[in-house]
């Protein structure tokens, strides 16, 4: 059934979209031109383009929410096969069926995700580390079957970093590096140090876009080409990553610090007894 010749290189793109309802709700109130709908549209454009680039390209989209992560595409409730609904499949404009099916699925899923969302007060941060982990699992699931040569994870980030996810985040990043998976990041609002590190470590691109309205343009220009093609293009240079550590007492980023030789905790001031391990 799956007969791939040697030239068929499968290029898998996983897009992780940050759909934090709080941030998007505030954003919609701030600026009516660029809303979550527009963002999802741009993501769809990127996905369609990716699938249109080659017959063997694969796509996967994950929505990263406050409580959990959802697979927008492909999803379990795919009504494929014979019992196809005429309305949903044929869009009337002669579009490649795969694309139209995918778009419809995505739209349905995102609608259901946003409608179901009930946000509790204490968890207002996006579950980005979890979504990335799910993305990695999805990639590893497909790898033995498809011999994916080029894999990349595209993160579109809206809300701020969550410091509590640091450990999980770093684990995911190092796992991706080991598996030769690129992590690209497109940041809409505030610079994210974690994503900068992720892109630097895995060899991807980090971009904070000045105009949110032109998101689709940035996605197509910078992030659509795969890693082999990128070496031929003039793309934005990698940003300088701030790898400074933060001291354990004040959480200030320090350049020179004092490290306990037993527990390796970092302090900005010298103290004879380490407060972590004594």
């Amino acid at each position: 059934m799956f007969a791939f010749s040697a030239e068929d290189e499968v290029n898998l793109l996983v897009i992780v979209v940050d759909v934090n309802p709080i941030w998007w709700g505030q954003q919609a109130q701030r600026d009516t031109e660029f809303t979550l709908s527009k963002c999802i549209d741009a993501v769809m454009v990127l996905g369609n383009s990716h699938m249109a680039m080659s017959r063997t390209n694969k796509l996967c989209i994950i929505a990263s929410h406050c409580q959990d992560s959802h697979f927008l595409y492909p999803c379990k409730s795919w009504r494929g096969g014979d019992g196809r609904d005429e309305d949903t499949s044929s869009s009337g404009d002669g579009k490649y069926e795969l694309l139209s099916v995918a778009n419809n699925l995505m739209a349905d899923e995102i609608r259901s995700v946003m409608l179901k969302s009930k946000v509790k007060g204490n968890s207002t941060d996006t579950m980005l580390a979890g979504s990335l982990a799910k993305a990695l699992c999805c990639i590893l699931l497909h790898q033995p079957l498809f011999q994916c040569v080029l894999v990349s994870v595209q993160v579109i980030k809206a809300a701020d970093d969550c410091a509590l996810q640091y450990m999980n985040f770093m684990n995911v990043i190092f796992a991706a590096q080991k598996q030769n998976i690129l992590i690209d990041a497109c940041v809409l609002d505030a610079d994210s140090g974690l994503l900068q590190q992720a892109c630097d470590i895995t060899g991807g691109l980090y971009l904070k876009i000045p105009q949110k309205v032109a998101l689709a343009q940035y996605l197509l220009w910078v992030f659509l080409p795969d890693s082999e093609q990128r070496s031929q293009l003039m793309l934005p240079p990698p940003a300088h990553v701030d790898y400074r550590a933060a001291c354990f007492c004040h959480r200030n980023l320090i350049e020179i610090g004092y490290v306990c030789s037993v527990c390796l905790s970092i302090f900005c001031n010298f103290s004879p007894i380490c407060t972590t391990c004594e």
């Binding site: 709700g25 549209d41 995102i110 409608l115 946000v119 689709a216 940035y218 003039m234 933060a246």
Partner: protein, 550 residues
């Protein structure tokens, strides 16, 4: 006589040595012989030097005593007193026999030690040969450093002597010999006696009780061998000799041993059975034997022998391990608290665990114990989980805000329909493209990376030449400092003027050429900096010179 500061133990007259008559004196530390009528001793040997003494056989006419020294030479004394020759010689021999061992040990030990050292260490042996034999240094000097510890370690050496075990067949070695007239001679040596005592403490007890008050040693042993105790089949234990008690004790001992069982939990003795497969190869059920009495006699005699053998072996083993018993117990205790098997401590007796460990592991294959480590005790380990994100005062979103936002977004997305034809307006697209083009807002970092691609190679070559020349000039300049000699002063001034000339004639035109080509790259900035530093140093030096002169 010569000054006799030593005590004289024995004087024997009429002792000939080398066909000369004389007197033999045995003293506290040496033996000496002097010819008749003379004052001094012709021959004097320390007991320490004497290796051994030899006597002529009894049958011979001449009664002689020979002393063999360590060095190999020997001295022969002929006891020529007709009547008392033998007695004299015996007396001398006895005394020597007593005295020699005392001195023997010391001398022997030293020599033995030396020999051992030389044999063990070929290097030392070679050294010895080279130095002492060729008389570069004397033997005393050679051994002076090396033998220092000999006398001190005497006691420890004797302590480390190993216990001699007991041969299991020591009783069988006592082979009786017939002496021709229906009697048996048992040859008992001290070793065999010792083995018997160690194996059968009951016999030792009897010995200490009865000898020498009741029986002589000879009688004791005779009755021992005569008794049924010794013989193999002692079925009837009713006889009246002193050893019947021993037999009863042995029975008791055997029973207690059987009850105690074997300490090794890996061996299950009860599953062993002494059964032979009769006809039918075990398929036939053994018929209830009507001839029980037959079997019983054979059985009982067999079982008696077997019991005796078992008992004998058990006693031999027990005697051999008696000293080591306490050690074994201690070892098993300590190894049961070994860190390896801490979890099963509560469930298994320690002996079994020791046996299991022995069966599983080889000690020398085990990895060496790692260094003792101290456990890490972290109080506030959640500090590690916090990322390098500075604690800023986050924008506080009130719960009302949250609810509002969520409602808003839900409202918006409820009617979401992808509108892919209206995703991007052309103006926003073109502004984005502009930002992404070289020279755009987002592309600032890129220019520096491509500098070696933006500069043509001739320019690069020229720059390299410039650098080489400037480097040479600057090297000459800087090597003049510190300026000590007038030659260096002249050189410094000359170099400074050279630098200026270079800057004027080579560097400036190059800079202008680059600028003309509209390359905004600053290629000569570093060169300029180097020159400026050189000028500055020159200035400082000149000022100091001025101040010194004035």
């Amino acid at each position: 006589m010569a000054s006799l500061s030593e005590e004289v133990l024995l004087v024997v007259k009429k002792v000939r040595q080398k066909k000369q008559d004389g007197t033999l004196y045995l003293m506290a530390e040496r033996v000496a012989w002097g010819p008749e009528g003379k004052d001094r001793f012709t021959i004097s040997h320390l007991y320490a030097d004497i290796r051994c003494q030899k006597i002529s056989p009894d049958g011979k006419a001449k009664v002689q005593l020979q002393l063999v020294l360590h060095t190999g030479e020997s001295t022969t004394f002929h006891f020529s007193n007709e009547s008392t020759a033998l007695k004299d010689r015996e007396a001398a021999k006895e005394l020597l026999q007593q005295l020699l061992p005392k001195f023997k040990k010391k001398a022997n030990k030293e020599l033995e030690e030396k020999n051992r050292m030389l044999q063990e260490d070929p290097v030392l042996f070679q050294l010895y040969k080279d130095l002492v034999v060729s008389q570069v240094i004397t033997a005393e000097e050679f051994w002076a450093n090396r033998l220092g510890g000999i006398n001190n370690t005497d006691s420890s050496v004797s302590n480390n002597k190993q216990e001699v075990g007991i041969s299991g067949a020591f009783l069988a070695d006592v082979r009786p010999q017939t002496d021709g007239c229906n009697g048996l001679i048992y040859n008992l040596t001290a070793d065999i006696i010792e083995s018997i005592f160690r194996t059968y403490p009951a016999v030792k007890q009897k010995y200490t009780e009865n000898v020498p008050h009741n029986l002589t040693e000879k009688l004791f042993w005779t009755s021992f061998f005569q008794s049924q105790y010794f013989h193999r089949d002692r079925i009837n234990t009713g006889s009246q000799d002193i050893f019947s008690e021993c037999a009863k004790q042995d029975e008791k001992g055997l029973k207690s041993m059987v009850v105690q069982g074997v300490k090794n939990p890996l061996i299950d003795l009860l599953s062993l059975e002494d059964k032979s497969l009769d006809e039918g190869y075990g398929l036939n059920t053994p018929t209830p034997s009507t001839s029980n009495s037959h079997k019983s006699v054979k059985d009982s005699s067999n079982s008696a022998i077997i019991k005796r053998f078992n008992h004998h072996s058990a006693m031999v083993l027990a005697a051999g391990s008696r000293k080591g018993d306490t050690h074994a117990e201690q070892a098993s205790e300590t190894s049961s608290t070994d860190g390896n098997s801490r979890d099963s401590d509560f469930f298994q007796p320690p002996v079994k665990k020791v046996k299991l460990q022995e069966a599983i592991q080889y000690e020398d294959l085990r990895r060496e114990n790692g260094p003792k480590t101290v456990a890490l005790n972290l109080k506030k380990s959640d500090r590690y989980a916090h990322g390098p994100v500075p604690l800023q005062s986050q924008q506080y979103t009130t719960s009302q805000d949250i609810i509002n936002s969520v409602n808003f977004i839900q409202h918006e997305m409820a009617n979401y329909k992808p509108n892919l034809t209206q995703v991007l307006s052309s103006t926003s697209a073109s502004s984005a493209i502009a930002a992404l083009s070289p020279g755009g807002v987002l592309m600032h970092g890129g220019a520096q990376q491509a500098i070696n691609q933006m500069i043509p190679s001739e320019v690069q070559g020229e720059l390299k030449h410039l650098y080489a020349a400037a480097g040479e000039l600057l090297r000459h300049f800087w090597s003049c400092f510190p300026v000590n000699t007038p030659f260096l002063e002249e050189k410094v001034i000359k170099m400074k003027s050279n630098l200026e000339k270079f800057q004027l004639t080579k560097l400036r035109p190059f800079q202008e050429k680059i600028q003309r080509q509209y390359l905004s790259a600053n290629l000569t900035g570093h060169l300029e900096e180097m020159f400026q530093k050189a000028y500055g140093k020159f200035q400082i030096w000149q000022n100091r010179r001025m101040m010194r002169k004035t």
